[in-house]
């Protein structure tokens, strides 16, 4: 009894489900973007095409300030996290002789990924409110430190992956040719590692930019970032201004992801 050949690629049931999934994944985002152009005071009913909500967001002092703050924090945290993660990656990869404490380091670096965000948020709220009381300092420093901590594992991943694909022979050769360790690092390791560092930096930046929960708990009064500002708006009547902000935010994320995608693809 002959049966038709099994076509791995043409499993209709799976294909239908997959196409449905992609549809469901993009439908809400598309709706959100379309309604950003709605010429109506409420997000409910479509009235016509307009750019007024983009203008309105642009002229909203709170939105502008929150955006600037988001960028400041994300830039500072991404740079700090990437520097720390690069050093940590150099320390934990290409180990010729495994040493005690290596597993401990892995666990430590990945800790922010394992503890639920809300728990870290609460812990930092308690800890930082004490420090705020003792020192009187209420600046952006707290948010930057908190963001740096949870960005480190994200920055670490691509840098470590890149390092592990590089063998030590070039560095050994440089050392044999009397290069100092610093020169070896600067002239050999760093240029080779650069794509990994760039990818780590971008991941950290996006992760920091997206954070809601930890920021919501750590921020002092008047320190809203764009996501916490938006979260606050959901308590009120939502206007298409939120759609407009989301759309711009979305485009930014897509731009960063696209760059990241091509940077990491070149590697492979």
């Amino acid at each position: 009894m002959a049966r038709p050949r099994f076509e791995v690629r043409a499993q209709t049931g799976f294909t239908v489900m997959a196409v449905l999934t992609f549809g469901l994944l993009y439908l809400p985002i598309m709706t959100l973007v379309v309604y950003a152009f709605n010429d109506n005071d409420s997000i409910a009913i479509w009235k016509g095409f307009s750019l007024r909500w983009f203008r309105s967001a642009w002229n909203n002092q709170l939105v502008v300030e929150a955006s600037i703050r988001s960028f400041q924090i994300a830039a500072a945290a991404a740079v700090l996290a990437t520097v720390a993660a690069t050093m940590a990656a150099l320390a934990t990869t290409r180990v010729t002789r495994p040493y005690r404490g290596l597993t401990f380091k892995y666990a430590f670096i990945n800790q922010p990924l394992m503890v639920p965000e809300i728990v870290t948020a609460v812990a930092l709220l308690i800890f930082f409110s004490r420090i705020k009381m003792w020192t009187g300092y209420t600046g952006l420093g707290y948010l930057i430190v908190a963001h740096t901590a949870f960005c480190i594992p994200f920055a670490y991943l691509p840098i470590r992956a890149r390092l592990e694909s590089m063998d030590l022979s070039l560095e050994t050769a440089a050392a044999d040719l009397y290069a100092t360790p610093w020169n070896t690092f600067r002239r050999v390791t760093l240029p080779l590692l650069w794509p990994g560092i760039l990818a780590g930096l971008m991941l950290a930046f996006v992760i920091s930019l997206d954070d809601v929960v930890i920021t919501e708990f750590v921020k002092s009064g008047g320190q809203d970032t764009l996501p916490t500002y938006m979260l606050g708006q959901f308590r009120r009547i939502v206007t298409p201004e939120i759609n407009a902000i989301s759309t711009v935010f979305l485009l930014l994320s897509i731009a960063i992801v696209t760059i990241f995608f091509f940077v990491s693809r070149k590697r492979a």
């Binding site: 992609f22 993660a85 430590f108 394992m114 809300i118 948020a121 709220l125 308690i126 901590a149 992801v257």
Partner: protein, 307 residues
């Protein structure tokens, strides 16, 4: 004169010292703003609540008792804290449901991507990655647009004259579930794809040629081979679902709480920091158990790979 062995030994020690020095900044930052504060939470869970938030420095196990029990403020009788248990139960149920649903949608999707020609796989993968890196709040808000009374679903149903009055989807457990499935789906697809990509599809064909039915091929060949991906994806979805805060807050509208919202309440209106601390530690313990389960299973799968 030092022997070669001694020199190598010394160089090795030097290397280890240099490696510790290099990792210090990362470890210090994570200790300061990650691990260290968790110990403070642990300490706080054994203190008494202050009148206006914060704590009184006296030892008390009330907070831990309060996680599961409650004392009646009038007659002092003790009973099970129904409200807390209900929220715990809802969190676990919704998280499990989220995991199962993301698996149902994610599995065929990962299969579909893995079976595309190699040069097109990246494009499909890219389409999964975009929502993954899009702000979670924005994605939750997008789902709200679809489900609200004047939203896409109700609009469509009314246009088709299936309903006259909008169905109240928002601010229900259903809305929270849909929101969580939506935001956590990429977390399921990515590890599943990673497993599926390595799957040798000739085995699938071989199974079919040997007169296995489609279902048997799925159950006996594909699922066992991609099991590490299924477990990794399930853990990656289950853990953030359990600790979810934003999605239940936005989709549940303050009434359909999950553990994350219950914790927040203790630091806001509830003003019971020790109880909030004890609830946080409870949540962390559940997550750690789930992680241990994962590590044990992952270890076993790797072991059986050789057998």
């Amino acid at each position: 004169m030092a022997t070669a062995g001694e020199i190598a030994e010394k160089a090795g020690r030097e290397d280890v010292r240099r490696r510790w020095l290099l990792s210090t900044p990362a470890l210090a930052i994570i200790f300061f703003a990650g691990i260290g504060p968790l110990f403070i939470v642990l300490v706080y869970s054994f203190l008494a609540p202050g009148s206006y938030g914060d704590v009184k420095w006296q030892f008390s196990t009330d907070a831990w008792v309060g996680v599961v029990l409650q004392r009646d403020i009038f007659d002092g009788t003790i009973s099970i804290a129904d409200a807390h248990l209900q929220i715990f139960l809802r969190s676990v149920t919704l998280s499990l449901a989220t995991t199962v649903l993301t698996l149902i949608f994610g599995f065929p999707t990962a299969y579909f991507i893995a079976t595309r020609p190699e040069n097109r796989r990246d494009i499909w993968l890219f389409l999964i990655t975009i929502p993954f890196w899009t702000n979670l709040l924005i994605r939750t808000f997008a789902m709200m647009e679809v489900l609200r009374n004047e939203g896409l679903v109700n609009g469509l149903l009314r246009f088709l004259h299936i309903i006259d009055q909008p169905i109240q989807f928002m601010y229900t457990d259903f809305a929270v579930l849909v929101g969580m499935v939506y935001v956590f789906l990429p977390l399921m697809v990515l590890p599943l794809f990673a497993s599926m990509e390595k799957l040798d599809f000739r085995l699938v064909e071989a199974g079919y040629d040997l007169y296995a039915t489609r279902f048997q091929v799925l159950r006996r060949v594909i699922i066992p081979l991609v099991k590490p991906g299924i477990i990794a994806g399930s853990i990656l979805v289950f853990i953030p679902s359990l600790g979810a805060y934003v999605t239940p807050r936005v989709m549940g509208g303050g009434t359909n709480l999950m553990i994350g919202n219950l914790i927040e309440l203790q630091f806001g209106q509830g003003r019971n920091w020790p109880l909030g601390a004890a609830l946080s530690m409870t949540l962390m313990a559940i997550v750690m158990i789930a992680l241990l389960f994962y590590v044990r299973n992952a270890g076993r799968n790797q072991g059986s790979g050789h057998g």
